[in-house]
């Protein structure tokens, strides 16, 4: 999908994202750095290099439920089978390695927070981004990415349906409000989908929606603030 309207339809109609198994080219990254990223990392880097993001050394919050977990599995398997691991893979097996590659390429010393959360990825990312704003950052890059798990792990945790990455630039303002309150008994309460963070992108794109539950109990919610004109219409 390349045009805005296609994305809005995707958001409204809750269609699944289809990944055709292509690896993001990340053309603008030096090849010597790019080669270190796996498909998930490359998807994240492609987003960070998007012209519309206009990276200007903002602080970044990198959010991924499992990161490049396939790499860690390969390391463990080769350790068990051969007693040694690949130094290159090992060096990339930390959660902040992907944003790290980007910062090296951009020669940036800006702060990066790398978060992992099983069921509260959107909430954790938003709270951290708001913390950075409260600390004086004019804007924060909030990046989410995840990919389907290696089959070995699937029986144990929610599996992500597709490989994806998206970034939001968060600035202080009144368009949205993060609220915490009683768990509500209304229609807001629904089991969170297996997608860790794509619901946030759908919510931002679908302007007809008022609230996004961020936890299973919906005690944390993201609210879209309606402007007075719209509210009276």
């Amino acid at each position: 999908m390349t045009d805005a309207e296609a994305w809005r339809i995707w958001a409204r109609e809750e269609v699944s994202l289809v990944n055709h198994g292509e690896t993001a080219p990340v053309k603008d990254m030096p090849p010597l750095l790019r080669r270190r990223a796996q498909p998930l990392g490359r998807a994240a880097l492609e987003v960070l290099y998007a012209p519309s993001l206009d990276y200007a050394n903002q602080p970044m919050v990198f959010c991924s439920r499992h990161g490049e977990i396939a790499r860690s599995l390969t390391l463990l398997q080769s350790l068990a089978a051969e007693g040694q691991v690949s130094p290159q893979e090992f060096s990339m097996s930390v959660h902040n390695a992907i944003p790290g590659l980007f910062l090296i390429a951009k020669k940036s010393r800006s702060p990066v927070m790398a978060l992992a959360s099983e069921n509260q990825m959107m909430l954790s990312g938003l709270i951290e981004a708001l913390g950075q704003l409260a600390d004086g950052a004019p804007s924060v890059i909030l990046l989410f990415c995840d990919a389907p798990l290696p089959p070995l792990f699937r029986p144990f945790v929610n599996n992500e349906p597709t490989c994806f990455a998206f970034a939001l630039e968060v600035t202080a303002g009144n368009d949205y409000r993060l609220v915490h309150g009683e768990a509500t008994g209304d229609s807001l309460v629904s089991a969170l989908p297996p997608e860790s963070s794509l619901p946030l992108l759908r919510f931002v794109l679908d302007e007809t929606r008022r609230a996004l539950p961020l936890t299973q109990a919906a005690d944390w919610r993201l609210l879209r603030q309606l402007s007075p004109e719209v509210g009276h219409a």
Partner: protein
């Protein structure tokens, strides 16, 4: 020797995921690290593991000596030819 040189170039490309680099692109006498091919210290470790697996080589802890072996593909090929046991 030419065969071994090309074999080592292929090993470098495959081990270090050098996308878009071909055997013909690697200058046999150019430095591998920092300049030339532009590899870094993690690549040196990775290459050490690969040389051990493929040729049964063990690199000495003597930094200067190891540095010499890794100076270029030609140096590496000389080292492999002299010390390989597989």
């Amino acid at each position: 020797m030419t065969d071994l040189i090309d074999e080592i170039k292929t090993l470098i490309i495959e081990t270090l995921n050098l996308e878009d680099v071909t055997v013909a692109d690697i200058d046999t006498d150019a430095p591998l690290f920092v300049e030339g091919l532009g590899l870094d210290s993690i690549d040196a470790l990775e290459l050490g593991v690969a040389l051990h697996k493929r040729y049964g080589l063990t690199l000495s802890d003597e930094a200067e000596e190891t540095k010499e072996h890794f100076a270029s593909v030609r140096h590496l090929a000389d080292f492999v030819a002299a010390h390989r046991n597989r």
